[in-house]
Symmetry: C2
């Protein structure tokens, strides 16, 4: 029920995912609206509807609304995962509410102090995406949170994105270990000492899309600004291209000839292709889609959820963290702050 | 003497600036190298050379090197401004060293606790650039520093970029005043209360290039990452275009037809057009160019310096701050933290 185009576009994406991906979709929300939307899309009557009552609207304070509306769609959807009736939640609504509902209803994975939102960016190297964590869950971070983000990101990069030994970078303003703000300098030391993280050093702004790094960790403040800037900058570039390319008669002819190639360029720059961001660190798979998501984004978000389930991301994170805890106890390590 | 292409490209840019902009350029560095470079470019013998001995290299610790090499080119250049022999310094070398030399040799403007580097970005609205401050001078900021950045940025936007009543935004992760990290929340309150700042609210990552804001303030950590990301993302987009556009026979033909338009697109995306960033808050005009600057960037950096001089940016900042100090004393204001 959340997002700018709910329920119509959400339903359309879900119908396509159920048909093409071989997943079973449960649509959570107002049954009447959903049924009418399914009918409009000529969707299968086999798609299951789970009734919910109310939505957390964009301006609302998440914690207050979630408690006042126990049957809001995001709460009901999280409960489906908790009860084992669903393997994942996909949500295009209030992302703060989704995060809070996940924490309240599902809880954190053992060994994780704070969940993080990971966003997968394409890089300049084809087939080498990078996952940026966190892009908005935790704005005031401690070094140990970023260390945990590095482990969760590595698990995701290795098992879902298929990178052999994911190279981890710390988002920073210079290459040298002395560079950065207080958080970055302290986190650098922590990452360097952790033998289970393949830390290759600081990543500057210019390195984010270079393909040199598979995982880049940062606090949610910087990450969120970077994510939203990256999304917008693609739009700005496309607008410049749209304005300049068809200028003049030669330009109009050339642009007409290039139509299929321009479409491919738009696809490579379009964030709808990526579907959504992952909330990692909670005890369930949660995909947080953009509020402006339409059917293609929702389809991709469901595919993302399917990949995370198939590659057993939660189990892998748990396994990595159990190891960690044991090691910490055995050596009485003081490297964590 | 600094930067990846010194002195050759620096000299080339300086020769062009002296010829086209009607400025008088002093080239500071090793006289022999500079003379040979001028000869290669068939430059005028009227360009003045000021001898300096040594350079602060990229890996060096600025403060240590500046003290050990009192005659390093950056030190000598700053002294020219201090002694009134030059109106501005343009530098493409170690930016940390440039900043430290400016602070040590020129000092801060009255009322300014920390200088900031301002970078001017083009926006989606033609003729409406935005200045982002700080993009790397101060990584751990206090609210009052950002308040000072807002004033300096407003002065620059108004008098140099010609915006009537510059709209100031605070870089943040949401529109609401409760959003953000600790620094952002506290800075929001300070900006809102300051009647000499036309604060219109938080600017999200997606708003940076929207043209809605004329000045955006942030700490130097976030700003530096954003600046370097923005520079790189233009490159990434251009590479995608270069790869995809000429695919197929139709593509090759279309691309050939579009050659002049593509050149214009490259220009609009190219950071060389912008020349450099301004170090505001020190008692002299300093332009910090990219280490990779070639002649066109240096030319533009010198033009930027000329504009800052012509529009008396230092005097305007001082005037704004004197007013501020008086007001603070008179009301014994506790709004500064």
């Amino acid at each position: 029920m959340g997002g700018d185009y709910a329920p119509h576009e959400i339903v359309a994406g879900a119908i396509r995912a159920q048909a093409e991906l071989g997943v079973e979709v449960l649509l959570v929300g107002d049954p009447e609206q959903i049924r009418s939307s399914i009918a409009q899309h000529h969707g299968s009557s086999q798609i299951e509807i789970v009734a919910a009552d109310g939505v957390v609207a964009m301006g609302e304070e998440p914690l207050v609304s979630l408690k006042r509306k126990p049957n809001a769609s995001i709460n009901v959807a999280m409960d489906l995962v908790k009860e084992g009736r669903a393997d994942a939640v996909v949500c295009a609504g209030h992302s703060g509410a989704a995060m809070a509902a996940a924490l309240l209803r599902l809880g954190r994975l053992p060994g994780i102090d704070r969940p993080a939102i990971g966003a997968v960016f394409p890089t300049i190297m084809a087939g080498k995406p990078v996952i940026i964590m966190d892009v908005g869950a935790i704005v005031d971070c401690r070094p140990k949170y970023l260390e945990q983000f590095a482990i969760m990101g590595s698990v995701y990069s290795k098992y879902v994105l298929g990178m052999e030994e994911p190279k981890v970078g710390l988002l920073n303003i210079g290459e040298e270990e002395c560079k950065g703000n207080d958080l970055a300098i302290r986190t650098h030391q922590l990452l360097r000492k952790n033998s289970r993280i393949n830390f290759i050093g600081n990543a500057e702004g210019r390195d984010v899309l270079s393909g040199q790094f598979d995982v880049i960790v940062c606090d949610g403040f910087v990450g969120n600004i970077l994510l939203k800037f990256a999304e917008a900058v693609g739009e700005v570039m496309l607008q410049i291209i749209r304005e300049e390319l068809p200028q003049g008669i030669q330009g109009q002819l050339g642009t007409a000839l290039l139509k299929p190639n321009l479409k491919r360029i738009k696809q490579r720059m379009d964030h709808a292709e990526h579907g959504g961001a992952l909330l990692l660190g909670v005890a369930g798979i949660c995909i947080i889609s953009h509020g402006s998501s339409q059917a293609p984004s929702i389809f991709n978000a469901i595919r993302l959820a399917q990949e995370a389930i198939d590659h057993r991301v939660l189990e892998r994170i748990k396994a990595n963290h159990f190891k960690k805890s044991k090691k910490s106890v055995a050596t009485n390590s003081s490297s964590e702050e």
